[in-house]
Structure formats: C-alpha cells, structure tokens
Symmetry: C2
Subunit: 709 residues, 2 copies
Amino acid sequence: MTNCLTPFFHPQGIAIVGASSHPEKLGYGVARNLFKSGYGGAVHLVNPKGGKIFEREMFKNIADIPDPVDLAVLVIPPKYAPATMRACGERGIKATILVSGGFRETGEEGAKLENETVEVAREYGIRMIGPNCIGLIDTHLPLDTTFLPLDMPMAGQIAFISHSGAICDALIDWSKGQGFGFSRIISIGNQADVNETDLLPLVAEDEHTKVITLYLENVNDGERFIQNARKIVAEKPIIVLKTGRSQSGQRAAASHTGALAGADTAYTAAFEKAGIFRANTTEEIFDWARALAWSPLPQGRRVGVLSNAGGLCVVTADSLDYEGLELADFAPETTRALNDFLVPAASTQNPIDMLAGATAKDYAKALRLLLADPNTDSVLVLVPPPPMYPAEEVSDEIIPIIQQAKKPVLVVLVGSEHIKEASHRLQKAKIPEYRFPERATSALARLTERAGFLSTMLQPPPRAKGGEIETGVPTSTSPDLTNIRAALADSRSGDWLNPELAERLMNLYAIPTSPIKFAPSAEGASKIAEELGFPIAIKIASPDISHKSDVDGILLNLASVDEVVEGYEMLMKGVQAKRPRAKLEGVLLQKMIPVGQEVIVGAVRDPQFGALMMFGSGGVEVEGLKDVAFAIAPLSAKEAEKMIEKTWAGKKLGGYRNLPAVDKTALIDALCKLSQLAHDLPEIAEIEINPLTILGKGVVAVDVRVKMS
Amino acid sequence: MTNCLTPFFHPQGIAIVGASSHPEKLGYGVARNLFKSGYGGAVHLVNPKGGKIFEREMFKNIADIPDPVDLAVLVIPPKYAPATMRACGERGIKATILVSGGFRETGEEGAKLENETVEVAREYGIRMIGPNCIGLIDTHLPLDTTFLPLDMPMAGQIAFISHSGAICDALIDWSKGQGFGFSRIISIGNQADVNETDLLPLVAEDEHTKVITLYLENVNDGERFIQNARKIVAEKPIIVLKTGRSQSGQRAAASHTGALAGADTAYTAAFEKAGIFRANTTEEIFDWARALAWSPLPQGRRVGVLSNAGGLCVVTADSLDYEGLELADFAPETTRALNDFLVPAASTQNPIDMLAGATAKDYAKALRLLLADPNTDSVLVLVPPPPMYPAEEVSDEIIPIIQQAKKPVLVVLVGSEHIKEASHRLQKAKIPEYRFPERATSALARLTERAGFLSTMLQPPPRAKGGEIETGVPTSTSPDLTNIRAALADSRSGDWLNPELAERLMNLYAIPTSPIKFAPSAEGASKIAEELGFPIAIKIASPDISHKSDVDGILLNLASVDEVVEGYEMLMKGVQAKRPRAKLEGVLLQKMIPVGQEVIVGAVRDPQFGALMMFGSGGVEVEGLKDVAFAIAPLSAKEAEKMIEKTWAGKKLGGYRNLPAVDKTALIDALCKLSQLAHDLPEIAEIEINPLTILGKGVVAVDVRVKMS
C-alpha cells in the first residue's frame, strides 16, 4: 500500500476540486496557497459551475482534467464526497486529500458518509488523507495544499504530522517567531484511511527531514506503529506529543497489573520501546527537535558550561542534575589554559564564570578549550545581555567554532531586545539557542539519551535472537504451543485459568514453578504433603476468593502431616466464618520456597499495543506503593533489565539490609519468557505471578493467575 | 533594624561614591542610570579627583556632601571599602549599596575585607546591600542605582529580589519582550549585611507590589524567613526559584528520617509551610506572577474552556488534569444558550470548540455565558491565529469582559506574528496571556492553590492554639521540660539516648508508648515478662547494633515464661554468631502491641529551618520505597494531615484489604506533639519512632530512638 502514498509528496499534477472564486471560501484559499507556494507541477481547478480564478479556467468535471494529475484536493460539501471520490477513481487519480469537515466528528450521519467515501476509495485503490484536515505542506518541493491565510513556514528539517489542524495553524505562525522551519507538515484529520503509521516511512525517507514530530490524540494501529517507528529511529529521531491522557482512565481489571496500568501507561511504554521521545508540552517538542535536527550527538553525559554570570551557572548546574547530566571534570591543561587569559577572580572550574567583563573573544577562546578537552562531551554557552558590547559579537565569534565542532554546543541567550540579533544569527546558522538554561538542558539531555539509545537499545526481542535468554521458549509453530492453545480454547472469556493449566503454561515457557496440588479433604492434603515434602504451605481453594490473604486463607511452614490435618480444618472453618457465601472446594498445597526476594511480574493485554508487561514490588500493597514499571512485550534482555532498574524492587536485588542478594539474570530471563508467552497468546487477557520469588540461584513462580480474554 | 532600611526605598538624597566620567566604568553607568531614571531627590557625585559629569561638579570627599543625603551607592576598589564606609558613617549616611565585587566571592582575602567593611557599618549603624551586586530599581518612585546599559524595566506590580545580579540583568531585558513590568528589583549580591529576609517586609509594604518573586541560592536565616513570609503571604503571594539543589547532597544521618531528608527537602518544606510557591524554572516564576498580580482568585477548581480549535482543547484538558483542576460541568442553561448561537457542529460541552468559523463576537458572547455559569470558577480562552480575521478582534471584544469579571480569565494565544497585536493589547490591559495551554494552566493552578491556602492553611501551630491537639504539650516554662533538659544535658553529642530517657520524653509530650524494660539475664527477662504480661516481644540490647532486625535480633509473640527463657538464649547465641564483636548487654522486653497499621514518624534538625518532620511507610525498606513526606515543625493539625495525605501510608489509614481502619486523629495528634517536642528541644539531632503503631483507637510508639545534637 505504501507506494500509493507517493503522489502525496511527489505529485505530477494536482486537481483542486471545489476551487472557488470567493475569497472567503476554503476552495479559494487552497488555490491561492498552491499557486503562492511555487509548486512546479500542473495545477487543475475544478468547479461544477466553471468560471475563472487566478486567470485560470476551471473545469466543470473531474473527467475533463488533462494529464498529468495524480493528486486531488477535495473541498466539497460532505454529501458529494462519495460521488466525487468515484469520479476521481474513474479519472485514474490515486491520491486524495479530503479537506472538508462534516463527517465522523459531527455524529452518526457524518460517520456513515465517511465510511461510504472510504469504501469508494478502496474500490478504486485510492488513498485518502482526511477528512476534516488542513492538508499538507512541503517547504522544499515546494507544495502547500492548505487554505490557511498564513505564508508557508520557513523551509527546515523538522517534519510534523498532526491529528489537529488548528495546532498546525498555530505552529506555522509560532515557528516563524522562534526562528525554525519545517520540512513537511501533514494534517491528517479523521484518518479515515491514511494514518500516522502509514505516513511515518514516507516522511522518514525525505532527505530534507532530520527529525519527525507528531501530535497524536491516539494510535489505532499500535503494533505496526512501533515496528515502523523502531526502524526509523535508528536513522532519524521521532518526538511525540500524545494527548488525551486525561480521558484515558483506569481500565476494569482483575489483576494488580491491570489495575495499575492506565491506558496511557501503554502509550508511554510503546514510545519507549520504539525509541520515541515523548514530550510533555508543545514547546518541549520543538526545543528538542531543533537540537536533534541541528546538533551532533554527544559521546557521554559530561557537560562543559561557559558563562559570564554566576547565577545562570547555578541554575544550569541544577538543571543538569535534574536531567541526569554531569558537570564535566576538566583536564588540568584546560583549567591552566583558562587561567592564563581569564581575570583572576573568574571561576575556571566547571561551570566557568568568566565574570561580566568577559569579551566575545574570551567566549571563543574558552569554547575552543572546552571542545578540545577530552573530558567534555558537550558544551552549554550562557549569554545574558553583556554589559559592555552587543550580544551578537559573542554569537559571531562562536558560530564558526560551533559549526565545525564534533560535539554539540547549545546556546542560552537570556533576554529579549538585547539578544534578538544574536538569536537570529544563531538560528540562521542552525545552532540551537534557548531563552533559559532549563530548556537548553532538557534538549541536551535528549541528545544524550538518543546517543545512548542508538548504542544499546536497538536489540531484537528474545525469540529473534534465540540464545539471548537462558533456555528457549517454544517456536510459534511448536506442537506444544498448538496443544496448549487448544486447551486454552476451552476456557471461557473472563474465566480464571485452572492452576494446572497455568502451570503447564509456565512449563512450556520454561518459567520454574513450585508445583501446586489440590486436595478436597484433610486426608488428601496430608497424602500430597508427604509427596511434596515439608515444610509446606496450604491455601484455601475457592472460585469465589481471589485474594487469599485477605481472608487469612493461607497457612505457611507446616512441618508435619499432623499440622497439615489440623491446618486444613482451621482454614476451612476460619474462611467459612469470614466469607459464609464462598464455595470452599478444599486446599492447594505447595512446598515452602527458600528465602529470597519476592516481586510481582505480570502482563495485561492493551487494545493498541498488545501485551503490556509489569514488574515491581509485590505483596498486597502493590497498588498503593506503585513501585512498578511497564514495558511492551516481547522484551529483549536489555529492555527487561531497564524495566527492573526503574523500581526499588529492582534496585535491591543485589541485597539490602537483611534481604539476601538474588539472581538478577534469572529474573531477566523469566521476565523475557513471560513477555514472549503474553505476546504469543493473545487469548490471555491478564497474567500475573505474585509473588515470583527470586532465589540465590534461579526463580520460582509461586502463585500464577491467568485470566482469559 | 527594619526602619533603617527605609532610605533604600525612599531616599531623600543619594550620593554616588566613585562616580566616573569614563563611559566604560561602572561609576559612570550608575550616574547615567540614576539621572535617566527620573529620580526626584538630590543626587550627589563623589570622586577623589573631582571633575564634572553630566554637567555636575563632583565632590572630592564624602564629608563635603550637603543635605539631604541618606543613601550612598559605592563603586570603589575593594581595598577602600572599610574607609569609605567609615566616611559615610561620619557623614551620617545610614544606607549604602556596595556595588563593587572583589570580596567574599574571590576568596579568603576578599572575605576578610568584606568582614571589615561590615564591622565598620555596624559600628555606625549603617545598613548595607551587597557587595558584589547590581543595586536596586524602583520603577514607580522612580529610582535606578544600577550600572546596566539597559533602560529600566516597564513599571509593574511584580517585585524581584535576587542573589544573582546577572539574572536581574537578563530579566530586565526579557520582561520587555514578555510585556510585563516590575515594581522593584533588588540585587543583594553577597548579602554581607542585608539579606532577603530583611527585605521581604519592606517590599511587601510597597503599594505598587502585588506579587513578590525571589531568586535564592540559599536562605541563611530560615526560621525568621518563614515567619516573615507567612505574615506576608496572607496579603501578597511570594514565588521563589531556589537553586543549588544539585549541590545539596545527602547529609550524614543515623536515622531513616535523616537519610531521606536531603538538604533541599527542608527548603521545599519551609516554602510550603510559609505558603510560598516554589517555581521549577525561571519562566514559571513569571508565568505565575503575572496571573497572581493581575487576576482575581477563583472560588474552586472548575474551569470553563473556550476555543475555536479541538486540538488545543485536548491539550488543555490534559494540562488541567495534570494540575489537579477540573473541567466545569456547565449548567443546562449555559449549554442551551451556547447551542442557540453556535453552529450545530460546534461542541458546546466543556471544553467548548466553536470551530474555526467562530467570530470575535462569538468569543465574547460565549465568555459572558461561561462567566455567568454558577458551576464555573475560572475560564481559559484559547485563540490560535483565526483563519478569517485578525486575532486582535477577539482580544478587543473580550478585554472589557475580563476586566469586569470577578472570576479569573487567562488567555492562550498560540502563534507569533498573527497574534502579536492581540498579545500586546491583553498585556496592556493587565490580562495574563500565554503562548501555550500548558503554561496558562500551570498559572491557573497556582491561583487556585493560593485561594485554597488562604482559606485553610494559615493556622497557628499547636501550642499557640492550645486546645487544637487532644492533650497538652508542656509549656515552654514547665518544670518538667526544664528537668528533662537537664537530664538530656548529660548525654554527649552524637550519643543515642537511653531508652528510659526516650520514654520520659514521650511521656512528657503525651505520646503513648509501650513500656520497654531491660533485662541482663534470662531470669530477669522472665520476671519482667510476668509483670508486663503476655504475649511479649524480646529484642537484643546492644550499643553496637542499631537495626535489630538486620541481625535477627527480635523475637515476637512469646507466650510463656518458658518461651522467654528459651528465646533469650537463642537471641544471645544467634546475634553473637552474626556480630561477634558486638557487645550484647541483654534483652529489652515489650508487651506485644495489638494489630494496627505501622508507620514511621521522625524529625531531623535542619541547620536553616529547625526541626524537619517526616511521616510515611516504615519498616526496613523505608529508604528504598521513599513513601514519606516532610514538613517543618511545629505542625498544626492541618499541616500534619496534609503531610499524612501525601503518602500511601496515609491514604490507607481508612483500611485497605486485610489492614484494619485505624485512628487517624490520634496519629495527627501524635505527629503534632512530636513536632512540638522536636521544636522545643534543639539539643536533639534526630528522633524517630519506627514503628508508630496506629490502633483502632489511639497510637503506640513501639520503638523510639533519639540522637543528641
């Protein structure tokens, strides 16, 4: 399908259907902008009434349009959309932008019309952007199919794909004041056909685009989105502002994993998996995008800070700390060389405060030294309005140095009138500059993060690499997998899987368990206890009780047959008193696990992104303490490790106070395997191991609960 | 002392000592700015060489200055500072601004010179701002004692006190581009004499100042700072950017409380206690300050959102959610009235999307309806560049409505060139306007927070009010308090207090404990166990072991004398094996506490702000889980409650899963009392109750540890 999208970005000829001679109509705006843009291909205007605009005759019918034409911009009343689409199909046009509103966004009737239009498009193999969109801009081709009364943005290296047309409108104007440009802007409106996932590869292959930014209200095609994005971020960074967080409340869930995973959690995890930066604000997107488009990547976290003002240095040091960056520890020769030419009262330790008397030449000299220092990975230059000379003297001195540097240099100009000219000159030289240290530091942190991501995180998931996890997981065609899926098919949607089947699942994916046996009587229990060995634990077995400890339904460390018999009676009596209506079927027996560290691991199915994995501190208070981390399955060992390290549960694996050090490798292995299981079996809605006990060597899944989709 | 500061803000005559005719000298800049500022009082110029600048004769000696003169700005080489200060004293000048650098900030010699200068100032009763500062600006008086080659900022309602001169320089220029002004700016440099705490009341009493903002690198006079600020915030909001977070590492600490409280924690707690807003970035300070200076306060959290663009509405809804604000639920008549004049496709549910065709009149009409709606506490108006008319049409329509409204209205104009004029007009009308919804929402949240603070948080601490906590704490002159302080005086600094004395402390402040008795032998232990009653717990007693559970040094639920004897031997043997070098003195016995919820409460002495209280989830993993909150002692019941509610430990007090509901009131009471204790007894460095068990009725301090300062 991808090839059919080519005409959107390389049209041989464009038809504007619904072109209008009334300046207040959108059909006029589209024609005006397309001519004004300087688009070099053929332009055909269509209006059923004929007539003339911009000294061009309008065709009355789509059928009359001469070659070449491969893209149509439709500005038409919604009710004519299906017929117009059909006319485009008959004429052989394969790409359309349906600008008009009045479809799905207005209610049921509009949605019906939208569906009809898409059906016609599919029939003819037409790809459609929209409806209810602004269209697209390519500043380099050039091409502008929008109707906005704004000049095109400056030509630049940042592409922007947006679910909102108004945000495109606002950003086109805002970017001009900020001094950066766009390569392409695409407003995709209702995404009735073409969506962000379709467009990503096409935007990525544009030679002018260095960074791809997106404004998204949702993602409909989650797994493919991650796949496309992962491929692209190896070459070009992607930044997303995903909104609608507030609408995405908690989902109904039976497990801790489900309860803790809000719908937005999956988006964050998905973007992380794909290596996409998730911005929190609109300004952040472009603070980051400029740096990513214009600067080389740093080799590490060590930042040199150069300034003539102590206060700005302190603010910067704080921001670096907040962003996980470090003040570089200069080589002695750097400090020596700085001391040679700076005034004695200057601070030549990082951050460097050259004091207010520092000249533009001092900035240049010091910047060269910092860039040459082997202990420095990047540099921030801070310039408040200099008291003795214009700020542009500084920018003129440092621009050529920054342009030749292999390390990123970001500039902070604090002020307004007195730094305006310096700011313009830096922008023109494609050097990222910011008003305040906090914003520059945030951008520098993304450069650093991206360098780290490229070097470590782009690893294939476990199965693809085979040997990465300790022992194998079944291949997707394994008969064992086929058999267990057949067994799972007997469980009804919403059911809890019986413990035996849950155990078979664990065995198939080589996740060690402690066998759990069911006994319907005290006699049966004591027999099984002798088989499994002592000390042993017994737990109440009841389909009506999901949290056994809530009803004191667990007895631990029973050391003999006598204690098992006595315990059985105690449990049945005690629980029955607390939950008179619960059906008590007997008890489950399990050999006691040696002392280790207990954690929770789980997965819950996300409608957009597939299995969402959770890891963290378990126990009954898991939902309150929220010491958990999430990631999208299947996990590579690196991804599992990163997830583990985000939590306190993960940080203490090396031992803490009276907790013994435990086998982190085995935990990573189990987490990867469980992720593969959850990925392979979409018929499972939620799966949770709580606790998974991590021992000195190996792990044991002590309690496994599986709920069917 | 405060009165002596008056000449800084209402000088009758100003002497510039070190005035210079060389335009590149600071002494020239100060004279130039003072004349240019339009200051109406007498100006006297002093230079030992005499001469003329700005057609004014310069005096050779300070002694020659005629009346009136009460403020001197000193721009002099550091070595002359003490003598110049003396000359000012002899001439009867009571206020000086020492602009020059070269003092404490340059090293030991400079510090000596600074001390000498301050000594002379004290001798003559002179107050001094600086050294190493930019001086001060009052835009209303007017007055400008700085040397910056910038015009004064616009006259405004925001005062700014700064530890950094460069940040003043940068903000003066930046604020002009942002369209807001300052009332006063004071750069206080090294604060050798006058500091931010001294200045707060003077700035607060300025009729032009509506909001006080500060850039601080530290606070030297913490308790007085809180006191001054608390008084002021009842009338005028204060916003602080406190930097130096990255330098303030962990303190050496023996308790969990101490380990968890970084030096910056105390600042956050102190600002919260004083009702001060703590900004995270420089831009945030002024985003908030403009709203606080210009807008009325809202009555609640319900926000109406008015826009012509869906995408901006979604971004705004997210931001509101993030900031803890709510989308207002409009009254039916509002929706009806909106439906009457908006196009059918418009969304008349909150947030309102009037669609791109909405006119300026539509904005005005809808805004009036939203303001009249009883379910709306505030309104955000969002305006991207309108497609059909200039944005200033909207601003012109809404300005008079906003100016008359009793509810706050913040405006978001997204763009640059196309919204510039609208932005200017709003700024001129003193209506807060922002480029992006996230920033407007953040400012609106501070307005809402301030309204809440004014209505609930300005309560006196427990002792002042007496009856607020359940039972009294000793008065500061109580003989019991005097006695216990005498006993405490016997403990050496760094010592752990013996358990009996710790228990006396608890008794004096009426915090319930479970008596702990020491027994040096198994025989002694069984005797005490019979006295205290069963079931009983025994713990190892050793000066070398502070975390008993780390060495399995605790046995619980012993039910009989036999079990106590057996347990004693077990404990001694087991712990000795684990810590062969520890001196084991015997055991401590304590009756078992009924089931409740266990929390940690503690206090640690902060060098700036006195006792810093902690509350949260206890247990051995408290430092890993970090489910704790901090506040400055002494606590009011409201403050204690707020602190409790910040943590999961506090949220589950009402009961959670198998945890029983417990007595929150008793916890608040205990926390207040402990805070009074920590406040009253500065000889205590750290005090920690871990656990404090909260029962169905009442609390028990199970384990109390006290370390001396």
